[in-house]
């Protein structure tokens, strides 16, 4: 009988069936196996509870940011209207998250905690999914390490507390990766079905999930199909090209199921993908003008890696960490010594590598893509690689590495969660609360950027009004001091005795310019700064008409 040619087939028959469900990787007696299994279960349970506690107990420590509120308004739409938005391509996100949130909101409401619990649920689920996937490849020890990384990574905690689709995407990333590895090793129908379903769900959770199956496909075509076939051709040239082509399926037994699975989830995805690619933004980039130089994008590329390792911090911390790029070269060199390890896990390495290269490349063209959250589906292969590497180390060294990692993560998480100085914490909720607390009848509240409008609508008390400073004119071109902007300000400010000027996103030049222009305009109208506060990424200024400002030393400029 012809020996199957797939690389997976090199796995000897006695171990082809993965023993992940019932057996440990160690050859131990049944009683010790049970005891190891019990310990594993308890450790996993502890990690799970700790991970859940960290996510839930601090779930509302930061206010919602604009995208989360947008989710609320979109998901509250009648389901028919929502579906129409998707079909028309006006809402370019895949629909799974929004439709799920629609029913979630109907059940639990739109409170901060309720909204974020949906994401936290997938975040906690990812802890178990990571254990399951890592255990399949590297055993229980790696499984526990993977679950620990997911449970305590500041970056992953952040997105488990974000009322968006990212934790959902991560969860399906782990499930898809786990099933993919199992399917290649076992070639069982159940695993292929699981892989197809999880990948399809993942692709409907966020469009960047697409990079994960793309990486998997590159791995499959190269290492499971092309190289074995080439080796076969070298060793056996019998038959015509046609007969050799017909033999491929026999030579590579996973080819049929793989093609069927990929075909299935691609077909399902195409339903949404077709209108999505017709969107103008898909062809031109959302802000192609900003992608003119590569230099800032390099820093962004490093930043997303820094964020994935250490979570979110103030720009000064991030820029310091980005400046440590030479460490990447050291890591690369040291990685050579682990090359045996990496090449045995080519499925993970290639999947993650191809995905990251695609996201970063896309980011060169379309700057909005340069965000670490768009790599969230690729967290799965990366975590499995790290977990497997640490699990491979001698026990004492692994313990030291894990302890150091845990302490560092705890420190970074503390800074991320409790430091209001962290600009990644938008500060809008606290700013609006401050304004509401100190608001006097007749005050005018103006804020920028304009797109925070839905956030103000969410947090602002019903009896108060706030006005965005519009940045864009009808042609979506920045006004930047145009007559229209002056007219808008005249209309909004009127004769108000006090003006609250709330300024966010000042790290972006276009918004800083508007802030500066508005402040200058208010000064020209006789308003002087009386109080200034900074809350997270938001600057809050109280100006009063006709009085010498308490802050008139120029500090507010």
């Amino acid at each position: 009988m012809r020996r199957a040619l797939s690389i997976s087939s090199l796995v000897p028959a006695d171990v082809r069936g993965l023993k992940t469900d019932s057996e440990d990787v160690q050859h131990t007696s049944p009683s010790s196996d049970t005891s190891v299994g019990t310990v594993t279960t308890w450790v996993l349970l502890t990690i799970l509870l700790a991970g859940a506690a960290v996510r839930i107990l601090t779930i509302d420590f930061r206010g919602l940011w604009i995208d989360e509120v947008t989710t609320v308004w979109q998901a509250q739409m009648p389901i028919g209207q929502l579906v129409e938005l998707f079909i028309s391509g006006k809402l370019y996100h895949p629909p799974l998250f929004h439709i799920s949130m629609h029913y979630w909101i109907r059940l639990f409401g739109i409170g901060e905690v309720a909204l974020r619990l949906f994401a936290a649920m997938f975040g906690v689920g990812s802890i178990v999914a990571a254990f399951w996937a890592a255990k399949a490849l590297d055993g229980r020890r790696a499984g526990l390490i993977a679950s620990g990384i997911v449970a305590f990574s500041p970056y992953l905690i952040w997105y488990s507390q974000d009322a968006r689709m990212y934790s959902m995407s991560m969860f399906f990333g782990f499930m898809s990766t786990g099933y993919f590895l199992r399917a290649l090793l076992n070639n069982r129908r159940g695993d292929w079905v699981g892989y197809g379903v999880m990948t399809a769900l993942g692709m409907f959770s966020h469009y960047t999930f697409l990079f994960l199956p793309l990486g998997q496909a590159v791995y499959y075509l190269w290492l499971e199909l092309f190289i074995p076939l080439r080796q076969r051709q070298r060793g056996d040239n019998a038959g015509t090209l046609w007969t050799r082509l017909l033999r491929i399926r026999q030579d590579v037994p996973t080819l049929g199921p793989w093609l069927a699975t990929v075909g299935l989830y691609s077909a399902v995805f195409a339903i949404w993908f077709a209108p999505a690619v017709l969107m103008p933004a898909a062809a031109t980039g959302l802000n192609s003008a900003a992608a003119s130089t590569l230099a800032p994008r390099f820093a962004d590329s490093v930043r997303i890696i820094v964020e994935m390792i250490g979570g979110f911090h103030s720009p000064s911390v991030i820029s310091g960490a980005v400046a440590m790029w030479p460490l990447m070269i050291s890591a690369l060199l040291i990685g050579l010594d682990f090359s045996n390890y990496f090449r045995r896990r080519a499925a993970l390495f290639i999947t993650a590598g191809v995905g990251i290269v695609l996201v970063v490349s896309w980011g060169q063209w379309n700057p909005i893509m340069m965000s670490s959250r768009y790599l969230i589906a690729l967290v799965a292969p990366l975590v499995l690689l790290v977990a497997g590497t640490v699990a491979m180390l001698p026990r004492r060294r692994a313990t030291v590495v894990l302890l150091l990692g845990f302490v560092l993560s705890a420190a970074l998480w503390t800074n991320q969660t409790f430091s209001l100085a962290n600009d990644m914490r938008d500060g809008s909720r606290e700013s609006i609360a401050h304004v509401a607390e100190n608001y006097q009848t007749g005050d005018t509240v103006i804020y920028q950027p304009w797109f925070l409008q839905s956030l103000y609508e969410y947090y602002l008390p019903a009896d108060m009004e706030a006005y965005p400073i519009p940045m864009l004119d009808d042609d979506e071109k920045p006004r930047r001091g145009s007559d229209e902007l002056t007219a808008d300000l005249n209309r909004v400010v009127g004769q108000a005795p006090r003006v609250w000027l709330v300024m966010g996103y000042e790290d972006m030049p276009e918004h800083a310019e508007i802030s500066s222009f508005t402040l200058a305009w208010l000064r020209s109208k006789g308003y002087s700064p009386q109080d200034e506060q900074r809350v997270g990424g938001t600057r809050l200024l109280l100006l009063q008409e006709g009085r010498t400002g308490a802050l008139d030393n120029g500090s507010s400029e």
Partner: protein, 533 residues
Amino acid sequence: MILIEHSRRASYLRTCRLLAVGAMAVTAAYLYWLLVVARVDNVALFAILVVAELFNVSQALGFWYTISIQKWIEPESPKFEETSETVDIFITVCGEPADIVGKTVRGAVEIRHPRASVWILDDGPSAEIESIAAEHGAGYLTRSDRQGAKAGNINAAMAKTTGDYILILDADHCPHQAFLEKTLGAFSDSRMAFVQTPQVYTNGSTNRVAAGANCQQALFYGPILRGRAGGDAVFSCGTNVVFKRSSLDSIGGMPEDSITEDLRVSLLLLEKGYKSTYVPTVLAQGLGPTTVSDYFGQQMRWARGGLEILLKRGPFFRGMKRSAVLLYALGFQYWFTGWAYSIYLILPIVNLVFGLSPFHVPNNHPLFFIPYILVTFFTLIYAADYRLSFSAIWFTLAAFPVHVWSLISVLLGKTATFVVTPKVASAARRRGASRFQHVHLLVTLVLVGACVIGVALRGFTPSVMSNIAFAVGHIIIMQGFVRYHRQPAMAPAIIDERDAASPALAPLASHEQGVSLLPLPLLSAEQNEEKAV
């Protein structure tokens, strides 16, 4: 050992050449940025940085040239029954353990050749070694003094023997039966003086030091010597080499005026109009250094010998082929690597402590630097057929005090002595040769101190963080040697036994360590457990 199967050689060489061209392009872009675009900050620092960078670039260019002219020499096996040449097999011994010598003698007497005589050249001398010779039917030669070290030992033996060809084996290099069949064919060229073959270490997985030394050797005996063969610049490496006696006679025997008599004899023979070649087939297995001090001792001898020849013996001569001039110059230049690395060590320290930089670092600096570094490394990795470990680079850089001290001692005219690389670990030797480890410890402490001072003076600014990152990279290189010196029982290197499989030389394949970067099949948890170290 980096062997390339016959079927892959054409595509491998083509890719090496393509990569070399690509690497030159990104290097040119980086040099353009450094020399034209960069805004100089501190002139002195910029000047020494440029010197170091130009040194590295010239080394890289030399390497790319070398890998582009690789040549595989596989001489046809002569029919010994139809020829009449005689061969002396010299096993040089100088205090090596009897069991190691015994294995080598046993291997030597089994070499297939009807007119080969095995001689033990014992500079010990030792009754035990003499009995081993008698046991295996080998000749035993010794002398009253150790004049001329290994070269003197060989010359003394040449005076007492008459073979047309001389195969030289170190005491620990056990030869394969086919040694002469695979090499003597090269002497069909009447101008051929010697044929060198690879040195591989069987103890390459003993510990990190052995693995590192082994990796360095693999690169040298792989693409580098194959390239030197293409450029007619192969030099003798002292063991696993076959000389034509008449060629040695023509220069008065092995030169005794250098501690690297192998390099010296190669140049003298080249000057006499002789040729040399390299057969990239593993035909003997030896033992490499297993302790830091042994490794540094070996490096010290090579560096001092090489630099002495460069500075005092006039290695270049009129009529030398251009490719040979270039390749020998590159070989000598290697021993200055430590000076270039010292500059890279100094720069972050100066920045962190005094706030001085060679140039203003704009955002786009990594865009020029990273492609240059990555493509350079990738070319190195590819040329090594994806079998390169961090150790190979690490050991080269960490040997910087050896390189620095070698040049100083040569310039000061300090007397060098021939030291045999010990074949067994010795605690006394570890203690005795620890001065270089003290340098590593000191540099580590200075780097850590500079990081602390940098943060204390200027806080966590991007500039400080970037220099801390460079400092950490250096600390990673230093700390291993500090630890390994203090802790002789080192962790085994990560070695893939599967890489040992070599269709070219199956009986000898078990020694072939190396870490291939090519992807391997997906394995289950059980198999990964088995493979994990």
